[in-house]
Amino acid sequence: MLIETLVQMADQIARNNAALPPERAAARIARHLTLFWTHAMIDELQSYAAGNPDELDATVVAALQHLGADSLG
């Protein structure tokens, strides 16, 4: 899938969880991705985040770290 689409989707999830404290927001985003995204979509976003962490909402980056710090390299 287009990475732009995945980034937009992830950032939108982050904006809608922004009322939570950052750590809980990250945990909730991570859970949301696990529950509703395919592995391939998460993998693509993780790969992108590894090289472009500044292009994503900080809580999304934290959420992806929750999901698997190893794959972020």
Binding site: L2, L20, F36, W37
Partner: protein, 941 residues
């Protein structure tokens, strides 16, 4: 079944718990206080003659046929208007009343055509029956006097005639329009001999009549008759089934003459509709036999090739071979399927099973994705289950009704009639909608507040209502303490108190005055029974899920959940939206909303299905399209959905469909999507189906075959055959057997079987050993999830903003006579009311652009443009335009964007920044890449 004639006790049942004993013709009868003498006698099997009385209407006492004698009372009172009293002794058959009844009947017949043998209602006429019952043998007055026998017939309505010469002025039609439908389109004009029924001084077609059919059903003579009865004759047998239009799920008696369907009559015992109907369910079923139906399978190598008609074996074999070839080349996850909310639970179940077990992945989604997926998400997060909380009857106990982003009188008309009935007796109404929908002000109904918010600001407005409730100390603290998670409540209270959630802050961008929001919040909190009803104006936003949770927060904070008259009630768009979701159509859930990663649940399915299932979620519909465009997704099976017309940003959808190596479409017609298909598998209409639909109140209703399948089999057999051809054998002997499998795998359906439904009519899930006859009201003592979970619902403005280039906001919806993409209703006489989509635009916006009423305009957004006629209307405020999406030639979704709900990817149909400009060329030159596709489909066949 022979023709089902439901008993008519003459007057409505009393709900009193106090019982009264009387004697009727020597028979002791015990009935609830408030029951009429007529009904008491009827319930004891002692029918009193009647004409103006019917038990769907309040007693009227005009026909004077139901006179009785009562010991100790003077005269001969009308039994319909006389309530029972303890110890009353009633005589329904005495020489005196028998003589009076004959005299009354003599007067009726002296001014009635004596053409019974050629009358279309012969054998189905209460006047004819009563003439026999009272023993009328002669008419002493003759027939030469002044009469109405030459009165004209109004044939203007496409579905029924009004033959005034046969009218007995009993007012049943007028009262049905008032009391049942609530439109008040009919009246009696004139006095005495000149009295006659009038559709407001004009013919039915030009009147305010909404063609619900209530008057036709109520008429005791042939005055109001279906044209189909006039043409085909009185029906002789009935099949009980369920309507396939909106999510109300009305029960109907399909009445046939031999094998020919003559009419659909709403079933009085139908739990959802209780004998009422709308113009679609009652009359617009002709599409089932429309010549456009495709009943033979077809294949082609390329979408530019002509279709080739083939045998079922060839079509299934070809589809299976191509699917496997594609998976071998591109991977197991490169294919998927979409289930349809128009199909039965059983049909949906087998398609999702085919995807999970035979395709070997979880790439299955349903068209509920694009309508009510946020309902599932939001209600599961807050209450613990993905469904509305009430039955429809519950609205009769509501003191405050809040309608948000829904237009029930057009989209859910039969439920709207229930709602209007409650509003007419005094329930308070709050409407939250950018448009002035009919409910805002209609006969005897006026909203106390119409919060006419700017599209996209739902969450801000409901948050502001919640802020008011917390700020002004209106929280039901006892309910919250007893029923809700304390820590989550505390966190929510802190959040909602923030200044940015105040009505005063919200007013700046929502356009709703703070004082109005505060007042509406106070009314909602005061109840005592406050109910929220909502539609796609809530869900089809980038914050659709947040909004559902915000409404749930509001209900919990005020204790408006868990009893009659309250609740959070989604008005589902299609007949089986609830069911298609229940049946495991979402890519992350099995039946009953259990996640695919739940090992215990998955193993149950694996054990019964004898195969290994994936534990990861699959692709949602928008993900499938995105993946198709980027070349990762190659084949799609689409069951009964026209994604090329109904889904947003059509250009993107078409790009996705064009990039597929294999598109399989199963449908009644060669729809827009079929233009991009390589395999077309015919489907069945609801009149051919055997199965169940589940409506918006979780009611599981039987759908029974009225006519033989035009494709020679049940639709679920097609998916079974395709699955079998793919190497995963799937076989059922009947739809009942599929439901048995659903029940075996789904705790909320464990008590459901066709045998139970045939016995009790319908049940609302959960239906299990704890609730063997179902669950009308949910969350009574505790929430499904345990404690109610308040959720933080920050308002996040949509990315779709009005700009200098696109300064207006477009919102879309339905009209009464048409249904969704119009595939069904456009193939009926309903086009008489709506032959094209138009653009509602406020006078000031029109004037600014030099647009005249009825002129062609170009509607353009950043993703596309289309053309349609302008309709200058004050229903929309300045800055907002509105249209429907019933016609492919208009293609309203050419302009909607692919922005979507953050949690579910439900498209944001309800907010699109657009510009409207005069169009001097008409539609042909300006509709981007679209044309009259039905004509093309015909040619391509």
């Amino acid at each position: 079944m022979t023709l089902l004639r439901e008993p008519d006790h003459g007057t409505p049942a009393s709900s009193s718990e106090h019982m009264v004993c009387i004697e009727v013709d020597g028979v002791a009868v015990t009935v609830p206080a408030g029951t009429s003498v007529m009904r008491a006698a009827s319930e004891a099997g002692l029918a009193v003659p009647k004409l103006c009385a019917t038990d769907s209407l309040q007693p009227f006492g005009s026909c004077r046929l139901c006179l009785v004698e009562i010991d100790g009372k003077k005269g001969t009172p009308a039994s319909c208007t006389t309530p029972v009293e303890p110890g009353m002794v009633v005589h329904t058959q005495t020489p005196r009343v028998e003589r009076l009844r004959r005299n009354v009947m003599e007067l009726y017949i002296s001014d009635h055509p004596l053409d019974c043998l050629t009358c279309p209602a012969n054998g189905d006429c209460e006047l004819q029956d009563m003439a026999g019952v009272v023993g009328l043998r002669e008419v002493r007055y003759g027939f030469a006097g002044e009469n109405h026998l030459d009165a004209p017939t109004d044939s203007s309505n496409p579905y029924f005639d009004f033959d005034e010469s046969k009218c007995i002025a009993c007012s049943r039609c007028v009262r049905a329009c008032d009391e049942i439908q609530g439109t008040l389109a009919l009246t009696i004009v004139g006095r005495g001999f000149e009295s006659k029924v009038s559709a407001g001084g004009t013919n039915f077609m030009d009147s305010e009549c909404v063609s619900c059919g209530a008057c036709v059903q109520a008429c005791p003579t042939a005055t109001l008759s279906e044209k189909s009865v006039i043409e085909l004759g009185v029906p002789t047998r009935s099949v009980l089934t369920t309507c396939a239009y909106c999510g109300v799920g009305c029960s109907f008696k399909a009445e046939l003459r031999g094998d020919e369907l003559v009419r659909m009559v709403p079933h009085k015992d139908g739990g959802a509709n209780e004998g009422h109907s709308c113009v679609k369910g009652r009359f617009a079923w002709g599409y089932a036999t429309h010549p456009d139906r495709v009943v033979a399978p077809m294949i082609r190598d390329a979408i530019t090739d002509p279709w080739q008609e083939v045998s079922w074996e060839q079509a299934i074999g070809h589809a299976a071979q191509r699917l496997r070839e594609i998976q071998n080349t591109h991977g197991v996850d490169s294919i998927g399927g979409i289930t349809s909310s128009r199909c039965t639970n059983e049909e949906v179940f087998v398609v999702q099973k085919m995807v999970r077990a035979a395709f070997g992945n979880n790439n299955v989604d349903t068209c509920a994705r694009v309508c009510h997926s946020p309902t599932g998400y939001g209600l599961k997060q807050t209450f613990g289950t993905s469904a509305g909380t009430q039955d429809f009857k519950s609205v009769a106990q509501a003191d405050v009704i809040v309608v948000i982003g829904a237009n029930p009188t057009d989209a859910h008309p039969v439920f709207a009639s229930r709602m209007k009935k409650r509003l007419r007796v005094g329930a308070r109404l709050i409407v939250i909608d950018p448009r002035r929908i009919d409910l805002v002000r209609s006969p005897h109904i006026e909203a106390e507040h119409h919060l006419q918010l700017l599209p996209g600001t739902n969450v801000a407005v409901v948050n502001a209502m919640a802020h008011t409730i917390v700020d002004e100390g209106l929280v039901d603290t006892a309910f919250v303490a007893e029923r809700c998670d304390a820590e989550l409540y505390r966190e929510w209270e802190e959040f909602i108190r923030r200044p940015e959630n105040s009505p005063e802050a919200t007013e700046q961008f929502s356009g709703v005055p703070a004082a109005e929001i505060r007042s509406a919040a106070r009314i909602y909190a005061a109840g005592p029974n406050s109910a929220i009803y909502y539609g796609l104006g809530v869900t089809e936003h980038s914050q659709g899920s947040t909004m559902v949770m915000a409404m749930a927060n509001l209900a919990m904070a005020t204790g408006n959940i868990g009893r009659e008259g309250v609740g959070i009630n989604p008005l589902r768009g299609q007949n089986n939206v609830q069911g298609s979701c229940d049946m495991g159509s979402f890519p992350h859930e099995f039946t009953g909303y259990r996640h695919v990663s739940d090992t215990v649940v998955r193993e149950q399915f694996e054990s019964l299905w004898g195969t290994v299932l994936q534990s990861d979620p699959g692709l949602r519909i928008p993900n499938m399209f995105d993946a198709a465009v980027s070349g990762e997704f190659k084949a799609l099976f689409v069951q009964g959905e026209d994604v090329a017309q109904s889904d947003p940003n059509i250009h993107h959808v078409l790009a996705a469909l064009e990039s597929l190596e294999l598109l399989i479409v199963q449908d009644l017609f060669l729809n827009e999507t079929a233009k991009y298909a390589h395999v077309f598998l015919p489907g069945t209409s609801f009149l051919e189906k055997d199965g169940t639909f589940t409506n918006a109140e979780r009611r599981i209703n039987r759908v029974r075959p009225v006519m033989k399948s035009k494709i020679g089999m049940q639709e679920w057999q097609v998916a079974c055959d395709l699955s079998t051809a793919l190497g995963y054998p799937m076989h059922y002997d009947s739809a009942a057997e599929i439901m048995d499998e659903i029940a075996a795998l789904t705790p909320t359906f464990s008590g459901v079987s066709f045998a139970l439904l045939d016995q009790v009519g319908s049940v609302q899930w959960p239906c299990n050993p704890e609730h063997p006859l179902g669950t009308p009201i949910m969350h009574i003592d505790r929430f499904v999830r345990g404690d109610g979970a308040f959720q933080l619902t920050p308002y996040v403005p949509t990315d779709e903003r009005s700009t200098r280039r696109f300064p207006l906001l477009l919102t879309t919806g339905r009209i009464l006579s048409q249904y969704n993409v119009g595939a069904q209703t456009r193939r009926t006489a309903n086009v008489a009311w709506h032959e094209e989509d138009v653009l509602d635009i406020h006078e000031s916006d029109a004037e600014l652009r030099g647009i005249a009423d009825g002129s062609w305009v170009t509607l353009a957004s950043r993703v596309g443009e289309t053309a349609l006629r302008a309709h200058i209307s004050d229903r929309v405020p300045p800055g907002v335009v509105y249209t429907t999406f019933h016609y492919p030639v208009t293609g309203a979704n050419v302009v909607t964007t692919d922005l979507s709900d953050w949690a579910t990817n439900c498209p944001e149909y309800k907010v699109t920044a657009v510009e409207v400009s005069p169009n001097l060329h008409g539609p042909a030159e300006s509709v981007s890449g679209r044309s009259d596709t039905e004509a093309e489909a015909t040619v391509s066949r």
